[in-house]
Amino acid sequence: MQVLQDLRALMHSTFFDILPIAIIIFGFQFLVIRQRVKHLKKVLLGMLYVLIGITFFLLGLEEALFPIGRSMAAQLTNPEFLQSVRLSVGELHWVDYYWVYIFAFAVGAGTTIAEPALIAVAMKAHEVSGGAIGVFGLRIAVAIGVAVGLALGAYRIVTGFPMHYFIISGYVIVVIQTYFAPKLIVPLAYDSGGVTTSTVTVPLVAALGLGLAETVPGRSALLDGFGLIAFASLCPMISVMAYAQLSDFKNKRALKRLLDTDEYYSRQTKREPRS
């Protein structure tokens, strides 16, 4: 019964989230473009599906993923648990938080794979590139980026290094990669940073960051709890460009091998008439 009530409340708030967008779309459609919408019924039905989808999705997150994510973040950063798995002796060292890094990595990868906004962009990229960019390949590349980003962010909170050094070196890597990566992938890679951090990832990651900053001695939850999302949106740019560079490199090598064998065969055939 409680669930049904939550469902109604969520449906209500999601409706008001979508409302401004619907007003903008239909306002411009009727006042500026002044054309009838093609397949109006289908479009409205589609928007209704989106509304239902987001509602169920958020309800499921609140019922299942958030409570468990929050309690796991709390358990993993619990000083007693840390004492029981520690590697070093004496004071707690940054390596003793290794399960936190692994958890941050796994949560980053797992949630990004299921991120609706990323799926939407990957579908478009697949369509526009004529199939050259695989939906699943792109999603895996982004997921690895987010995972590494979160693990790095967790490490930063534990050690307390200033964040802007990490971000600035990330920018430098992005700039260097931009020069070497295939030109087609660059805009998509830039986009994939912002895409990853929406509905699923942000609340879970915020819980992890705050939990960490509260339990690590010398950290303030308010000052150090932020910043994980910034890592999660920077690293996918690097990983997506790296993915494109790798597949480009592989293609070139395959092509080279093909050319080499071609040359070999043509040499063979040239030799044949002589013998």
Partner: protein, 244 residues
């Protein structure tokens, strides 16, 4: 009817596959690392079913509704040839979708606490609320400007990487001057703004525009709007922190 049922089932299977990794991650940590069974196992199971259903409906609705209308509007604007209306649509889309974004509201409230604690603003209820509201409008305005700028880039064919690099330089320079407490929030606000509904619409707009203007490649010119929408808020929030 039969075809859409088929599509729906396909999308259901896809959502199941998407959710498997996170379930495995949680199960592994609970069983092998924490060695505990979570409370409310039934509730979690029901919640997961909701997530699968939600993803399925969302993606299905995206293909039926949001993608087609986003692209058809982009085509219509391109044919109409009115740059002014196109840019104002871009701004309205960016501003309107961000100002109501729940994640942004949460972050802005959190930020006002930080600012009050650091003594930047008075710690009264009113001062904190006006700070949070100001921050929210700053971010929404910056996303509006970002989408407008991105559309302008597609129209005028500016190279994206130079624009992004200029943005990076601004972020780095401003980081040196902005108060320390705002830096983490500013960097985060870039990622927070782009919501689940905005992303598909904005992507459809960019690709629709790039494919209806001759001489543009949708792959090179169609993407990039979201990149602006996640970079510009950082610059604006750093500026907001410096001014107040």
């Amino acid at each position: 009817m039969k075809r859409s049922l088929h599509l729906f089932l396909g999308s259901l299977l896809g959502s199941l596959r998407d959710l498997t990794p996170i379930v495995l991650v949680i199960a592994f940590f609970q069983i092998f690392v924490l060695e505990q069974t979570p409370d409310h196992l039934l509730q979690i199971f029901v919640g997961l079913i909701f997530v699968v259903l939600g993803l399925t409906f969302f993606i299905f609705g995206l293909e039926q509704g949001l993608f087609p209308i986003g692209e058809s509007m982009a085509h219509a604007f391109a044919n109409k040839g009115s740059v002014f209306w196109l840019l104002s649509f871009a701004f309205a889309l960016g501003f309107g979708t961000t100002v109501a974004e729940p994640a942004l509201i949460a972050v802005a409230d959190e930020a006002s606490k930080v600012a009050a604690e650091a003594g930047h603003i008075a710690s009264g209820e009113q001062a904190m609320r006006s700070y949070a509201t100001g921050l929210r409008y700053t971010v929404a305005f910056s996303v509006g400007v970002a989408i407008t700028l991105g559309v302008l880039r597609i129209l005028l064919n500016w190279p994206i990487h130079y624009m992004i690099m200029i943005g990076y330089v601004m972020v780095i320079v401003m980081t040196g001057f902005a108060p320390d407490e705002i830096i983490g929030i500013a960097y985060d606000s870039g990622g927070v703004t782009t919501s689940t509904i905005t992303v598909p619409l904005v992507t459809a707009l960019g690709i629709g525009l790039a494919s209806s203007i001759s001489g543009r490649n949708p792959m090179v010119d169609g993407f990039g709007l979201i990149a602006f929408a996640s970079l510009l808020p950082i610059v604006f929030v750093l500026g907001y922190g410096m001014l107040i």
